[in-house]
């Protein structure tokens, strides 16, 4: 069955090259159902909340985020900042995200932020650090209670600042009905 083209931010993103076997295009193909679903809205969550939260040398930041059960995590990106909050190469930061309910991690091991940053040392608008955000091969369903554990480790010998940005599609639920259900 032929369907209309999806018109969303990805379709309008000129940085995505819709070529065969390219990763972003393949991921978007796997996200087709989610992109066409009408009762989901975007929700972006950062950890740590405050970009001015330094992670001490040899230390690990641990946080937990809560989303509506039934949300889909479809992408993420990680950026590291210097003391003036300018982007720098995310060479010192590694991170892991784990579903708090199932204990299943998003990644098989901590992953370097260098692969998921928007930073690029090259100048010019066409030389950014890859397509942002980094897309998952398939959107990942987050079931009840909708909690994700976030760990961001600093490998450097000095404190550093960074933020992990998680991209969710969250189901629309009416608050008053939810509250009524909770009261019952």
């Amino acid at each position: 069955m032929l369907k209309d083209h999806i018109l969303d931010g990805f379709a309008l993103n000129l940085n995505i090259r819709y070529l065969p076997y390219h990763y972003p295009a393949a991921c978007l193909g796997q996200s087709s159902v989610l992109r066409r679903a009408n009762l989901y809205r975007a929700r972006w969550i950062v950890q740590p909340d405050d970009a001015n939260t330094p992670i001490a040398a040899y230390d690990t930041f641990e946080g937990q985020v809560q989303v509506m059960p039934g949300s889909y995590l479809w992408g993420f990106q990680l950026n590291q900042f210097d003391a003036l909050f300018a982007l720098v190469a995310a060479a010192d930061v590694i991170f892991q995200v784990t579903d708090a309910c199932t204990g299943v991690p998003l990644l098989s091991d901590y992953a370097s932020g260098a692969g998921f940053t928007t930073f690029s040392a090259a100048a010019g608008v066409d030389f950014h650090g890859g397509v942002a955000p980094h897309l998952l091969t398939q959107p990942r369903l987050i079931m009840a209670p909708g909690l994700l554990n976030v760990e961001i480790a600093n490998r450097a010998v000095a404190a550093m600042r960074c933020q992990l940005l998680l991209f969710f599609a969250e189901p629309c639920v009416v608050l008053e009905e939810k509250l009524a259900g909770g009261a019952a």
Binding site: A57, T60, Y72, A153, P171, C172
Partner: protein, 267 residues
């Protein structure tokens, strides 16, 4: 993971067919969407009609009222009350229903004990502690002890001991040791910095230990649970001498570090 909706196309997502029984004994009702019918006032989204709103169970799908002045897609603030509930409700389209179906599938799996129950019948039964809390009968204890002479350089990390989790096993560290056998060390002075590293990350709260923890005869317990390890992870105990430490520490002393715990087959 998005489950393919059916042999036809996503339009048939919400057509209820018999679910594949996953647990046998436990009967689970067909999947009702967890989000119930409800109205919403999304005045700022006027005109979209397809972006936000309220989901309805499929059974109620056909009876959803739409806006009188031209249906759902003519949501116009001038043609009706913005507080009219029926004006701002949108039924789930087939793709949303496809996602609901996936959630229903996972709800059903969870109701039958989850994936570990279905795929790993060797998992501890109800009431049994998980293998990272109490060593199962098929577990293997380990105690990894290492020592080095006082390093001759300050400000550099020196590896004291290391081990790797065997392939196919997970593990847990339940107690550790880091100590100095010579004279001259003052606890917390910064002369010695012990660090535990797992693969490329420093273990939280154990990345810069400046005090002695336990002895080989009486290791320091990691309270309120151990450190879980995954298969093939490399665990390392490092030590670094602080500035001026060589002038204060007995050069014949040794630095001793150790890990204690067990491995268990992956579940």
């Amino acid at each position: 993971m998005i489950v393919p909706c059916g042999p036809k196309d996503p339009m048939h997502c919400f057509e209820r067919g018999p679910e594949t029984p996953v647990g046998g004994a436990v009967a689970v009702a067909p999947i009702p969407p967890t989000i119930v019918a409800a109205p919403v006032d999304f005045g700022l989204w006027a005109g979209r009609g397809d972006a936000v709103g309220t989901s309805y169970p499929p059974a109620a799908y056909s009876g959803i009222p739409s806006r009188g002045q031209g249906g759902r897609r003519s949501m116009n603030m001038q043609t009706g009350s913005s507080r009219d509930r029926s004006a701002y409700t949108v039924p789930p389209n087939p793709f949303t229903q496809c996602l609901y179906r996936e959630q229903g599938l996972w709800t059903e799996i969870a109701a039958n004990g989850g994936l570990t129950k279905l795929c790993c019948p060797s998992m501890p039964g109800k009431g049994d502690p998980p293998p990272w809390v109490a060593m199962p009968s098929e577990g293997r204890r380990y105690q990894q002890i290492g020592s080095i002479l006082l390093p001759i350089a300050e400000g550099a990390d020196n590896l004291v001991t290391t081990f790797q989790v065997p392939t196919g096993y997970d593990g847990v560290i339940v107690s550790i040791v880091n100590m100095y056998t010579g004279a001259g060390f003052v606890e917390g002075s910064g002369d010695l910095h012990y660090r535990i590293q797992i693969n490329r990350r420093w273990l939280k709260d154990y990345g810069d230990i400046q005090t002695t923890l336990g002895t080989v005869a009486s290791p320091c317990m990691i309270y309120r649970g151990g450190v879980k390890l995954r298969t093939q992870e490399v665990v390392q105990y490092w030590v670094q001498l602080g500035a001026g430490a060589l002038g204060r520490l007995d050069p014949t002393g040794r630095l001793v570090c150790a890990f204690f715990g067990w491995f268990y087959p992956q579940v």
